[in-house]
């Protein structure tokens, strides 16, 4: 490669390295849960339970958005629904399906209450969550 300026090669190599570095992405310790996973911690911590993880991806394979967000009145905001176990047992919110008929019933506490204690309410990987950090 004759007559090539060393500077331009350094730049090129740096650019190459930068692209490669970008591909390496997140450090191993950072949460890397599914996009759209919702953590709900309105009452859990106070009640001595693990916060709830709601996996959007799992539910959207099985139900349209409408089934929960129109029919059951779930607001489009993490923590924006005043859900508690009394309402769920009464057939509201999660309890409309998690009643042993459409989906497994509420005695499986730790399938929902599965986040590490103290995890704040959030939509994992949402734009807002990223901007607040």
């Amino acid at each position: 490669m004759p007559n090539r300026k060393p500077g331009s090669e350094a730049l090129r190599a740096a650019a190459c390295a930068a692209i490669c570095a970008a591909l390496l992405a997140l450090p191993a310790g950072a949460p890397r849960a599914e996009y759209g996973d919702v953590v709900i911690n309105n009452h859990s911590d106070k009640a001595g339970m693990r916060p709830v993880v709601f996996p959007h991806w799992f539910h959207r394979i099985r139900f349209s958005c409408k089934a929960c967000h129109a029919d059951l009145g779930f607001q489009f905001r993490a923590g924006g629904n005043d859900i508690n176990m009394v309402k769920i047992i009464d057939g509201q919110f999660c309890g409309a399906c998690h009643n042993g008929e459409i989906a497994w019933a509420i005695e499986n506490c730790n399938l929902c209450h599965s986040a590490p204690p103290g995890t704040p309410t959030q939509v994992h990987e949402s734009t807002l969550q990223r901007m607040n950090k």
């Binding site: 190459c16 139900f63 958005c65 599965s114 986040a115």
Partner: protein, 310 residues
């Protein structure tokens, strides 16, 4: 500097030196593998470096194919991070890299005219330095969720950071990868193209929670929003939205159902309003600009119109 130069040009040089190797392998390598393997980033076996490759080749081509297809815990993303590559493409690229690594000994003698031979002396291995540099830089870029290698995507609940591994229920939860196996892939979000998955009937989400047969009213009606600046105009398809959602989900609380009545900006979307109520939370994220901004502006029109003004 000469070492740097080598990293950049080595693949090209060897590409010329190995004319017999399938073009396909080289094409795939250039597109999907070279970013890391050209420089030996993060311990990736460096292209053409016999000492990096020989222990791997010794374990057999099948093992290398498997690592390339499935990824490795050390950081190799499955299919080099390009989910669209077919098995044959991946194998061709592996063959190409294996051949390049075992070729250098005969290559200088057998191959090609002067330019190649003069470039040859430099290829000494200093991948360690490269890895160190990029490892530091990786921390700087760690915010970038879009650049995560495929091997780190869709981990099982026990490893995803928001499920408590100490919780007994965590291990009973389905791992996303097992659900995504047969779904069309995407480059962001869950890495699943949900709209295509629905269109291709790979998934059949119930419209009514209790009635598997209920179907919604799908409205096939596009709305074009002309946008400021140079971005292509936005095409909003009612069809793909009404396949998932009820009219009442968006109208009238989020969008007033009347042309021109809604002020929408990227700022509000980023703040979780308007389209951002779903896009950036659960529907495909705002990084996928062109999925919405998809209608090229008629440049002749506006140019002629503004031409009057200097």
């Amino acid at each position: 500097m000469s070492v740097l130069r080598t990293w950049v040009f080595l693949p090209v040089v060897l590409g010329f030196a190995l004319p017999a190797i399938a073009q396909q392998g080289k094409a795939v390598y250039d597109k999907s593998c070279a970013l890391c393997h050209a420089a030996g980033v993060a311990g990736a076996p460096k292209f053409g470096n016999a000492s990096d490759w020989s222990p791997r080749i010794a374990r057999g081509a099948a093992a290398l194919y498997a690592s390339a297809m499935n990824g490795t815990p050390k950081g190799m993303p499955a299919r080099g991070g390009n989910a669209e590559l077919k098995d044959a493409d991946v194998k061709a690229a592996v063959d190409y890299m294996m051949a390049a690594a075992s070729a250098p000994k005969p290559a200088p003698a057998a191959a090609k005219p002067a330019p190649v031979a003069t470039e040859k002396p430099a290829p000494v291995e200093k991948p360690a330095a490269a890895a160190a540099v990029t490892a530091g830089a990786a921390q700087v870029n760690s915010f970038n969720r879009l650049m995560r290698p495929a091997s780190r995507q869709n981990p099982p609940p026990s490893e995803d950071g928001i499920h408590d591994p100490k919780n007994e229920g965590t291990s009973q939860l389905q791992a996303p990868r097992s659900a995504y196996e047969n779904l069309p892939r995407a480059s962001a979000g869950n890495r699943v193209n949900w709209v295509a998955a629905l269109e291709e009937k790979r998934i059949a989400p119930r419209w009514d929670r209790a009635d598997p047969k209920a179907v919604g009213l799908v409205l096939d009606f596009n709305i074009v929003r002309e946008v400021k600046g140079s971005m292509p105009d936005v095409v909003y398809p009612h069809k793909q939205h009404t396949e998932w959602l009820d009219c009442s989900n968006c109208h009238p609380a989020i969008f007033i159902p009347q042309k021109g009545a809604n002020q929408i900006s990227m700022a509000s979307i980023l703040l979780g309003e308007k389209c951002g109520v779903c896009h950036g939370k659960v529907a495909f994220p705002v990084s996928e600009c062109r999925l919405c901004h998809s209608k090229k502006k008629d440049l002749a029109g506006p140019a002629a119109a503004t031409g009057a003004r200097p």
